[in-house]
């Protein structure tokens, strides 16, 4: 696996990006801008479901109208994240926090698979009845927790150092 990562980061553009004094921080800034767009809006959607924000507006209105911008933000985060990750693939691969971050992304996908059908497609129903069920609140709380964990794992990647080679 490590040799595959070595190969990956030696691709022309990956090497150029890693060594660029300008492109690397620009991609990282776009990664963070996507986080602002995506993170802020996912927080507002989750807080609405939890009954803590936007309580005067319907849940479906908040969720459905923010969805295209959340997708835009997520696309920006993931695209830039991939560019950054591939450019330093061999450096990041031994890092346990990098693997933790990838695992958490897998948990995010599982969260979507579980709750898309059981919660996020029933929001109009919640607005009609005026009741937000427990599993919807659980989905929202888990989502907030997951995304904060992802930020934390991402930040810790930068602080882990490999043990000195003997």
């Amino acid at each position: 696996m490590q040799s595959f990562m070595e190969m990956l980061q030696s691709i022309g553009w990956a090497q150029a990006l890693r060594e660029s004094a300008l492109m690397y921080p620009i991609i990282m800034s776009l990664h963070l801008t996507g986080m602002g767009l995506f993170g802020g809006m996912i927080a507002m959607t989750d807080l609405r479901i939890l009954g803590l924000a936007f309580t005067k507006q319907p849940v479906a209105d908040v969720h459905n109208q923010l969805r295209p911008f959340k997708h835009l933000g997520l696309t920006l985060v993931v695209t830039c994240g991939l560019l950054l990750g591939i450019s330093k693939a061999a450096i990041y691969w031994p890092n346990p926090f990098f693997k933790l971050k990838l695992s958490l992304l897998l948990v995010v996908a599982i969260h979507a698979l579980i709750f898309r059908g059981s919660v996020y497609s029933h929001l109009e129903e919640y607005d009609r009845t005026g009741v937000i069920p427990g599993n919807a609140k659980l989905a929202a709380a888990l989502s907030l927790l997951l995304w904060i964990s992802l930020v934390a794992a991402g930040r810790w990647i930068g602080y882990w150092e490999p043990a000195e080679a003997a």
């Binding site: 801008t33 986080m35 507006q57």
Partner: protein, 149 residues
């Protein structure tokens, strides 16, 4: 530039390996809340999103959370700054970031707010929302570039 009597080596965030990154996580989560909620108002002002609600309604719904995000960045930011004040003050990107941040805060809680509360923000809304989004993005870029200049 030096500060008499201040030694970052004794600063609590420099004493262990976890408190600095924890503070950074708060800073990132806080700015996502701050800027993401402002983007929502900007998108409404520009007529791009949240169109089933008025700009005033989007502002009303987001305002307490924008303020919470601001509080989190204004607490975590100075805590990060104190880890090495001389380094930050001598950094051009840091100085630009703080300048833009102060202008953006002032703008957001004056002009931006009053235009969003207008019954029909119209073209002025498009302009005010667009300028707002650009200012906040510039703060993010300047923040990242601190580590690269």
């Amino acid at each position: 530039m030096q500060f008499a009597g201040y030694d970052p080596a004794n600063y609590p965030l420099n004493q262990n390996e976890w408190s600095f990154p924890v503070t950074e996580v708060f800073h990132i989560a806080g700015f996502a809340l701050l800027i993401g909620t402002i983007f929502m108002v900007d998108l409404r002002l520009m007529g791009l999103g949240m169109k089933r609600q008025s700009a005033a309604e989007v502002l009303k719904g987001t305002a307490p959370w924008t303020l919470l995000g601001l509080a989190v960045v204004l607490i975590s930011g100075p805590l990060i700054f104190l880890s090495d004040p001389v380094l930050y003050l001598n950094n051009a990107s840091f100085r630009f970031k703080i300048t833009m941040l102060l202008i953006a805060i002032l703008y957001n809680w004056t002009l931006h707010r009053s235009v969003a509360n207008k019954s029909n923000p119209g073209t002025l809304g498009v302009l005010v929302g667009g300028v707002s989004a650009c200012m906040w993005v510039s703060v993010i870029f300047a923040g990242i570039f601190i580590a690269f200049v």
